[in-house]
Subunit: 400 residues, 2 copies
């Protein structure tokens, strides 16, 4: 194993940024696009509506035929037929003619106005018109809603139901979205077992595996939880190899034992290269970052809050970049609820809970699970700061 | 068909509320619980940690053995072994004895403190202790993080990654969640075609089918989009029957034609019962609500914004109730950006877009697609109000 030193967070992020991973695009049917992230700008391929369309039920006319109409001297036009929504009138309206038309139906050639049926009288095959119609009355022109070529949605848009409906309106059957990166998740620790297994003396249930796998999913990526590796070289190596084989990224979280940390780094070194071993932040000092066959492997701390903090700082930005969500804001400014002390010379990330406009620091003494659940995110205490006063403005980064 | 009159919105909601549908509970593996809604309160079935646990690497001791320790007169204890995370020590620590213990490992019987290794010296099979340890030092007591029986999560909680991690921590392999109601979605209209099909003259692409199906999915329910029914009794009846067979709820949205509305209500009457035909709101006057074989069938207006407004007012609350999310707040108070006019005697819902603290009314004249996409929700203008002034406080209900 190469000798590696604790590096600043910025250096670690630079290394991660240089990893040979690029966002990939795939085309999915529109019916499966909900929740995905658009990988290309979309412009409308068609006019919406594609034709001049009646916006009321009534009579399509040549407006100029009605210019002389009045209550005392109404105009009579011959009704030569009927056009319903879905029909296509292949005839032309001649002077003196009209046609019954329903909402949504295309106007026949020659017609340029639709008078709603409540405003006219029908007399046999004639319609009686009492006031002038202007060209465009009761008509939506082709492309008036969305003209062909209009930019509709930007690359990076997360597709909600309004966006998928818009894409449906312009007839897109397939949507270019970012492929979901596949992330292998491995928990390590002799003391860990999975829910559903009985707890033997000395054992506890795994937390990080579920937390990381589901945080990855909430980010819109795919997670493959490979289970728990014991403090044993062969089983850990087998799981890491499996992760590298089936996924784009591998995330391990450490058990309580330092031995597993050393094992992890020696296995990464055997199969690939350890790039970072230790980051000058707290928590995060024992974090390992490596590359096996071009695939990033992260070894995160075992304490759940530490694990999630490092996931948020190191892995989440990479995942967001790969699915086109890098511009997403995951920070909010709040006021510190009470004074916190830090250690000078140590760049610290402290878990906080948000209560209204306040960020409430979670006491370090609280339990592993409880503090993880209570925290919404974390604040940073810079290296040269020892005390943050109550009421100071802090920036909270949400977990995930 | 029974003669039915336009009823107030409250009456329609009462009718929907009386429908014979109840939330159903299913148990899913924890690995599939992300995003689901908890159907029962969960209390912890175990103590976390399940045993007294070392929180540092060091030496487990009987604290009273160290009470006399000082820098000048250190105490020497015999190191009788080692306990690692995942081990279970089946021996008892006797006076004068200590054991090397790693973080996360269970304390042996008799031990009540752990002194971290940085604070002591090791000399062969002895450890040299320079200051007293108090009982509980370096120890997390069984249940200190989460005591057995502690309420963890409430019925109705949407499970994010923190919640699934918490359930993993207490060993829950299966989670009681609300079953997702299955909703059949049918678009109607002779003029409609699906994305991917070529547009023939007079045709437009369907919007509502995709919008409703994906709004249903965003709500956490299952949607089955059955496609487009033409203005033809047999094809519409076949789709409604299919919807009632495969799903819990059927939602139709009307095409432009009034003929389909009449067809829909006559088919519902044939297969079941029309309960509501027309609601005294705008939009929503043509809305149909029926029951076929105990399953609600909704016929919503065809104009997309109207369709979505009625979906939000009528269907979404039912779906939320069925998946235990009825308490979710979907409203926000804003100030009206400019004056709007309404018609006296008409209870109106106007689409608005939210811009910061303002609610900007979407002009009625805008296109069907554009206004739907631009709007975030709607405001209500009561029956007896003709004008809402700019700056007035309004309550915006989000679509969906």
């Amino acid at each position: 194993m190469a000798f590696l030193k604790v590096v600043p967070l910025e250096k670690a992020l630079e290394v991660i940024d240089s990893f040979p991973l690029e966002p990939k695009v795939e085309r999915v049917p529109l019916g499966e696009a909900l929740g995905r992230v658009l990988a290309e700008d979309v412009v409308s391929p068609i006019n919406v509506p594609p034709f001049d369309r009646a916006t009321v039920d009534g009579y399509a006319v040549r407006a100029e035929d009605t210019f002389m109409a009045s209550e005392s001297e109404p105009v009579r036009l011959k009704v030569i037929g009927e056009v319903n929504a879905g029909d296509f009138p292949d005839f032309e309206l001649k002077p003196g003619e009209s046609v019954y038309i329903s909402t949504g139906a295309p106007l026949p050639k020659g017609a340029d106005a639709v008078i709603q049926f409540e405003d006219v009288d029908r007399d046999g095959d004639e319609v009686i018109i009492y006031k002038p119609a202007y060209p465009g009355l009761g008509v939506m022109k082709a492309g008036a809603d969305i003209p062909k070529g209009k930019p509709l949605l930007k690359r990076g848009t997360r597709l909600g139901f309004k966006e998928t409906a818009l894409l449906s309106a312009v007839g897109l059957a397939e949507v270019p979205v970012f492929r979901k990166p596949k992330v292998a998740v491995i928990s390590t620790g002799n003391e860990l077992v999975l829910p559903g297994e009985g707890l033997k003396p000395g054992q506890i249930y795994d937390i990080n595996g579920r937390a990381i796998a589901d945080a990855v999913r909430e980010l819109g990526c795919e997670a493959v939880f490979l289970g728990i590796a014991k403090d044993d070289r062969e089983s850990l190596k087998a799981l890491i190899e499996k992760g590298v084989e089936c996924c784009d990224i591998v995330i391990l979280s450490g058990g309580a034992s330092g031995g597993i940390r050393d094992l992890t780094s020696s296995i990464i070194e055997e199969l690939g290269e350890v790039k970072i071993h230790g980051i000058a932040i707290q928590p995060g000092k024992p974090t390992i970052i490596g590359l096996i066959g071009g695939k990033p492997v992260f070894g995160l701390p075992g304490y759940p809050t530490s694990c999630l903090t490092n996931f948020t700082l190191l892995v989440a930005p990479l995942l967001r970049r790969l699915i086109g969500r890098e511009s997403e804001v995951r920070k909010v400014k709040k006021r510190l609820a009470h004074k916190v002390f830090s250690v000078k010379g140590r760049r610290q990330f402290l878990p906080v809970r948000i209560e209204g406009e306040k960020a409430v620091p979670i006491l370090k003494g609280s339990g592993a699970v409880t503090s993880f659940i209570d925290a919404d995110g974390f604040i940073e205490v810079p290296e040269n700061v020892e005390i943050l006063e109550a009421g100071e403005e802090v920036e909270v980064t949400f977990f995930g």
